[in-house]
Symmetry: C2
Subunit: 218 residues, 2 copies
DNA sequence: GTCTATAAGGAGATAGAC
DNA sequence: GTCTATCTCCTTATAGAC
């Protein structure tokens, strides 16, 4: 059940390379070399580079979304009526991502891949991403609608995307920890970073609605 | 002065392709074909693909940073002492990006490239990005320090990065306008989108500081 | 399932005529 | 400055032995 099969070796190596060099920037040869498997075995197990990308992305995203939805289920179960606590919704969305930092497969490339998926997933990967994140997105849109009921759905939509962007960039931006803009010496602590992000996003979600120059609440 | 030189044709085509396919995903041949110039002319004018990437990135980023710093200069000149208005600092940072939407070179690939630069700029491009954004980053870090003086510099650093992530993702995420999570029918209006972003970021910056479990204000 | 070998084409880069 | 032609290497993918 927990043997390191060739398939898993390939997935692990691909994940690392994709996180580091991007999807287009990674060659199957680099993956092969890194996983110490044969070139042809990648095609045997996955069929094509594109299919391998999808497999890697799904392996990461699906557990995250499952946990997100489970946490949201719990929250909704304890608040069957009326407003949902905003911070609770945000914590449900972000907690599974926080866990990535402590993931056995590594603490740097793993989160970075999340960011790449989010930002680099144009073109052909787009329908895949939609099928992976569609349900979760819709569920959290609805939950946020209950948490900040004074906002119309378009406003909620954008704020959710701002939140995702803040998360993905803070997690994925290369070299962000070396910037040293102002002599920052301490290593990033997952717990504190997570609290920072939750605070920022919660406050952003609670911001006053902009004066819309068009029709109001849809 | 405003002739469409070969160099400019290459830069325009490269910019579009990079925004669409990413840096690694774009071949010089695609750029050549799109710009209707000769393969060799790219090397004649720029020397290498890497140098072309840097030229494209600089052409976009430098005017933005110049305008950011000019707006910040104005703001600081009118507030020589004491606190800076937070919203003013944020507007100075984001306004030049807003302008991209109305840029003659296009309203989709141009902003998307900003996002790619921000997210995909690992590895060898990193020092280039640092040289481009270093001064601007430091200036805005300092300005934010005056705008939210109760926060320590590490907190400010992270919040600035959350803001950049929110901006880059909202601007660059592919297919974000088609998501249709909740029957969003209206086309995105630059003015309103900008206000949404400014409101979100300002509120996030004003969030209460997290309870730090380590040493306080550095 | 895993290997070797190789196909078939795309990549960045350059030499040298004009 | 621009072109054609070409070099060399790397890419994905597959055929076929084991």
């Amino acid at each position: 059940m927990s043997e390191a099969s060739t398939k898993d070796l390939i997935l692990d190596a691909a994940e690392q390379q994709f996180a580091d060099k991007g999807f287009a920037g990674t060659s199957l040869r680099a993956i092969m070399k890194n996983a110490d498997v044969n070139m042809a075995s990648i095609h045997y197990h996955f069929g094509s580079k594109e299919a391998l990308i999808e497999a890697v992305v799904r392996r990461i995203a699906e557990p995250i979304n499952r946990e997100r939805l489970a946490l949201l289920d719990d929250l909704e179960a304890s608040h069957p009526e009326g407003e949902l606590p905003l911070r609770g919704v945000i914590v449900a969305f972000l907690t599974p991502v926080k866990r990535l930092y402590a993931h056995p497969r590594g603490r740097t490339f793993f989160p970075r891949l999340m960011g790449r998926m989010t930002m680099e997933a144009g073109e052909e990967l787009s329908p895949v991403m939609a099928s992976i994140f569609g349900e979760t997105g819709a569920r959290f849109m609805a939950a946020l609608g209950r948490a900040v009921p004074h906002l119309d759905s378009e406003e909620v939509f954008w704020r959710l995307h701002f939140a995702i962007g803040a998360m993905a960039f803070a997690i994925a931006a290369p070299g962000i920890h070396h910037h040293n803009v102002h002599s920052i010496t301490e290593p990033p602590d997952p717990g504190t970073s997570f609290d920072r992000l939750v605070n920022f996003v919660t406050a952003g979600m609670e911001a006053p609605a902009p004066t819309v120059t068009r029709k109001a609440n849809k």
